[in-house]
């Protein structure tokens, strides 16, 4: 829902941005009241020279075997009609709590795949649109550890929203997301990174776990203090590995990226978020501010989609999640 509105706004914005950047008047660029440039555009304006960090491991291991995407993760996947009908009957017959089930199917599957795909890369393979931002535009090293940090950042963004859901449901969503992440990391370590010893894999996983706790703590602290200074420092430590020769424009771009995602997450209702209607805004896109009217329109559209008047709700679509908040 929000995404649809976001897309439309982005398209308007793109036209506006194109106009603004082609105009020769540099005073336009400084004007903070107008539309904001996307994170990619912010970084591309920087003239910072490339300075290598000798402390940074920048050796990518080529994957032994690439994990095949499961069928349900591919685009255009549809459940056969008979399975659907059987499922609906089952849910209504046994009064299954669908909010509980949805934690696994939405948070543990859909949302995790979204986080994972942001920075996924393999040596000698072309990068996806989002991965280009992290590895090419920002110049981060193409390593497994970096992929983990990027995934972790996106997991945290979702965590912030999940905390604002009803306690029991939100906690379940968080749990499923983390479970799936570590299951996936273990699989990747053994299949792709060729770590065959279970004991060594466990040590790595413990390491990743403490990294995750540290990163989530720092970002939470930044959010609680409502201060971009703290957020920038947390990003510098966790994404840029404490690089002394940091380009501060890049730091600003990520701060902007995080704030933009939080803004979208803030404006999406529990119901739409819980049903998997959220998508991360790409780093080359920008979100316009929503007016009060837009917000009302958004609520109306959400209500129309999930609880249409005079419309039947399927047993699997029943939910306690709020449509307003």
């Amino acid at each position: 829902m929000l995404y649809a509105v976001g897309k439309r706004q982005i398209r308007n914005n793109a036209v506006f941005l194109a106009k603004r950047f082609t105009s020769s008047n540099p005073s336009n660029v400084d004007n903070t009241q107008t539309k904001a440039p996307s994170p990619v555009e912010l970084v591309k304006e920087s003239h910072f020279p490339k300075i290598d960090n000798p402390d940074l491991p920048n050796r990518d291991i080529s994957a032994k075997a690439k994990l095949e995407k499961p069928a349900y993760e591919k685009e255009g996947f549809k459940v056969p009609a008979w399975k659907r009908a059987f499922g609906e009957t089952f849910v209504s017959l046994f009064h299954i709590d669908m909010d509980n089930v949805r934690a696994g199917t939405i948070s543990g599957s859909k949302y995790y795949y979204m986080c994972k795909d942001q920075g996924l890369q393999f040596t000698d393979e072309e990068l996806s649109e989002t991965a280009k931002f992290w590895y090419e535009t920002l110049g981060l090293p193409r390593t497994f550890a970096m992929w983990f940090q990027i995934t972790n950042l996106h997991v945290w963004l979702l965590f912030v929203r999940m905390r604002a859901m009803p306690f029991k449901i939100g906690k379940n969503y968080q749990q499923k997301l983390v479970d799936k992440m570590f299951k996936d990391i273990e699989l990747r370590l053994s299949e792709e990174m060729n770590v065959l010893s279970g004991r060594i894999r466990d040590t790595y996983m413990k390491d990743f776990h403490s990294q995750m706790l540290g990163m989530i703590f720092s970002l939470d602290e930044a959010l609680a203090q409502k201060n971009d200074d703290v957020l920038a420092a947390a990003v510098w430590r966790n994404i840029f590995n404490g690089d002394k020769n940091i380009d501060i424009v890049k730091l600003e771009a990520i701060v902007r990226y995080i704030r933009m995602q939080l803004y979208v997450l803030d404006n999406i209702s529990d119901r739409a978020f819980g049903f998997g209607d959220f998508q991360f805004v790409g780093p080359n896109e920008t979100v316009d501010l929503l007016s009060e009217e837009d917000k009302q329109q958004l609520l109306k559209m959400t209500k129309m989609k999930y609880e249409p008047e005079n419309g039947k709700i399927l047993p699997s679509h029943k939910s306690q999640l709020s449509l307003e908040e």
Binding site: A164, P166, A224, D229, I246, I248, V255, L265
Partner: protein, 158 residues
């Protein structure tokens, strides 16, 4: 304006950054002040030097055998300083860096994309961020009473 004056401006903004509430492996504020002092040819402030001395002392306690240091002692090489590549910086780059740092310090983006109380005081766990901040400001040293601890364990809420 010259590179020196921009570096001075950057350092003065960096000095207004809050100090880390919890000690991390590196401090953004202090490392960057040192770096831009070096680039602009300004004297490093005393507080930064003190902080660095404390950090170095800590490192000495943790790493008892440092091969690089031993090698340096044996072959009496001079202490190598981090390479900031000062020659690459010009006025234009420093101006951009200053602008970005100022944007961060002025909370430009959090003001632009304001979020409501929905995320700051999440309804599933309204006290989450307050509790976190309360702990952080006390350096994580605050002890929890036995009853509140039990409540936390049983309900999972803070």
């Amino acid at each position: 304006m010259s590179t020196n004056s921009y570096a001075k401006k950057i350092v003065s903004v960096l000095q207004q950054f809050p100090a880390d509430t919890v000690k991390h492996y590196a401090s953004f504020k202090y490392t960057q002040i040192e770096r831009f002092c070096n680039i602009g040819g300004i004297q490093v402030p005393k507080e930064v030097k003190d902080e660095k001395a404390i950090q170095d002392k800590k490192q000495q306690v943790i790493i008892k055998l440092d091969p690089a240091k031993l090698k340096r002692m044996i072959f009496s090489e001079t202490d190598e300083k981090p390479n900031y590549q000062n020659n690459l910086f010009n006025e234009d780059i420093l101006k951009q860096q200053y602008k970005s740092l100022k944007n961060i310090h002025d909370n430009k983006w959090s003001k632009y994309y304001t979020i409501s109380n929905k995320l700051i005081e999440p309804k599933g766990n309204p006290n989450y961020y307050n509790r976190l901040l309360g702990d952080v400001t006390k350096g994580g040293q605050k002890k929890e009473g036995i009853f509140t601890a039990f409540k936390t364990i049983i309900t999972g809420r803070y």
